[in-house]
């Protein structure tokens, strides 16, 4: 009961702080303490957002970015989980390959974009491949980690039952690695969105990433902020959806 009250007060104060921040933004722009060329008012931003959504321009751009992000992320998750299961399921492969994977891991995925451009050219396929490749690593490595952390006694049980490698992966390894893999997929979704934006900027594909760069270059601040807000919304919603899916999928653990 008192806990409930505390939660309510927390939520109320949380909303208040956000409202105060927005009001502060409105005040700063109202008195033009910051030039409106750089900082549009919240009203102008909201108007640009509403207009863009009504015309459908902004929707089409957002759809392009979301499509790229989701396709790349799904590809990355599938490949990452498949490779991760293969490598993680065998202690020999793990011993031979894991050091190499750990060295490659800190490499920024965006640094590979020039290489992909040189190999494939400035095409939609290039952007998709960059996203898939860059977003694959967290899933791959966390799946390998999940397999490595399988309770040794379970592996012994599998041996006694003479499970084949495939059966081991699907019956013991993957269910065990799922929490890790899902955590990796969450990180890779964030990476996928960033790479989608960078890929668009460099390859001039239709999308929000290109749109905000164009808006910045032509000093259309309201449209720029509307695009950025929409990208934030995409990040927020996709993260929340995945979090909900994660809780559902991992319900059996509790």
């Amino acid at each position: 009961m008192s806990n409930d009250r505390l939660n309510w007060r927390g939520a109320a104060s949380s909303v208040t702080v956000t409202a105060v921040l927005l009001a502060g933004w409105a005040v700063v722009t109202h008195f033009e303490w910051v030039s409106p060329v750089f900082l549009p008012s919240p009203q102008a931003t909201a108007q640009a957002l509403a207009e863009g959504l009504r015309d459908g321009d902004l929707l089409a751009l957002a759809a392009g970015t979301i499509e790229r992000m989701v396709y790349g992320w799904v590809l990355a998750s599938l490949i990452g989980m498949a490779l991760g299961s293969l490598i993680g399921g065998s202690s020999t492969l793990r011993a031979w390959l894991q050091p190499m994977l750990e060295v490659v891991r800190p490499l920024p995925a965006s640094a590979l974009i020039p290489v992909f451009i040189a190999l494939i050219g400035l095409s939609p396929a290039m952007v998709l491949l960059v996203i898939a490749f860059g977003a694959m690593w967290p899933v791959l490595l966390s799946t390998v980690h999940g397999f490595a952390a399988v309770e040794p006694r379970l592996s012994e049980v599998a041996q006694v039952l003479q499970l084949s490698r495939r059966e081991f992966i699907f019956k013991i390894g993957l269910p065990n690695a799922l929490p890790d893999a899902l955590a990796g997929m969450r990180l890779s979704l964030t990476i996928a969105l960033i790479l989608a934006i960078v890929g668009e900027m460099l390859a001039s594909q239709q999308g929000l990433g290109t749109a905000i760069v164009m808006a910045a270059r032509s000093f259309r601040a309201a449209e720029l902020f509307a695009g950025v807000a929409l990208l934030g919304l995409i990040g927020f919603v996709s993260n929340a959806l995945l979090g909900a899916a994660e809780r559902r999928l991992l319900r059996w653990q509790r």
């Binding site: 750089f38 390959l97 640094a111 590979l112 290489v115 900027m201 990040g235």
Partner: protein
């Protein structure tokens, strides 16, 4: 435990070495705009190190990464300490943090470009914004995990907020705060390079794009290897420091 045989110790290096040899063999004498044999990449790396171009570009990138981390990470640390100690403040900030955190870092680059133009300030802004949130959230979690009895002791002793932070909380949370710092260093480097590739014409990231556009694959791949080495070296060095300073690991 028996000592590992040499093969066991070095087997992690076997596959990459074989791959490099295969690449050398396949690409030797091949004219390509995208790929170059490892020996030529190595030669280009050596040349870049000698004429100073590589070190100059690295200095630009590292300056932006470290500076951005100092600004954003420092603010995140302070705010994380505060929100970790004061539950009401944490509840009040929750919505604003959750709304701002998922903003993709690179979406801010055009805003920074509009405000600051090309140069260090653009990059510092993007890096600082990105490092702020992981540092804030991880510090907050680290402070929360401090043994509550220690805080009670502080209360009994009548410590002020500043004293509590400096004498009890920071020392207890330090191992986990250092982990947050190590992760943020990695993030800062990645974001700096990404900003340079996408918008800011300076540093290693711009060097990569410029080499690609100049159809100089050996220079491009040399830069890629260098960026990889830099990131790997930084993370390995910080990990070694962490093991040395906090040998018993982060307290649960």
């Amino acid at each position: 435990m028996t000592n590992p045989t040499p093969l066991q110790r070095w087997r992690g290096g076997v596959v990459p070495l074989l791959l490099l040899v295969a690449a050398e063999w396949c690409l030797h004498g091949v004219q390509s705009d995208a790929l170059a044999p490892p020996t030529r990449v190595l030669a280009s790396l050596w040349e870049g190190l000698h004429d100073g171009t590589l070190l100059g570009a690295s200095a630009q990138t590292l300056l932006a990464a470290v500076g951005g981390l100092a600004i954003g990470g420092g603010l995140g640390l302070l705010m994380g300490l505060w929100l970790g100690l004061a539950r009401h403040a944490a509840a009040a900030a929750a919505l604003s943090v959750e709304l701002l955190r998922p903003l993709p870092s690179m979406a801010l680059a055009p805003i920074a470009l509009l405000v600051f133009g090309f140069g260090y300030r653009l990059e510092l802004f993007v890096v600082a914004f990105t490092c702020f949130f992981p540092m804030l959230l991880l510090t907050q979690a680290a402070v929360r995990s401090v043994e509550p009895r220690l805080l009670e002791v502080a209360q009994v002793l009548g410590f002020s907020v500043g004293e509590r932070a400096a004498k009890i909380v920071l020392p207890a949370a330090l191992p986990r705060v250092f982990v947050a710092f190590r992760l943020s260093v990695g993030i800062a480097l990645v974001v700096a390079v990404t900003t340079e590739i996408a918008t800011n014409p300076q540093g290693l990231g711009y060097g990569l794009i410029a080499a690609q556009q100049a159809l100089a694959p050996e220079r491009m791949l040399a830069l890629l290897v260098w960026v990889g080495l830099l990131g790997w070296g930084l993370s390995a060095g910080l990990l070694a420091l962490e093991r040395r300073w906090f040998r018993q690991g982060a307290p649960a």
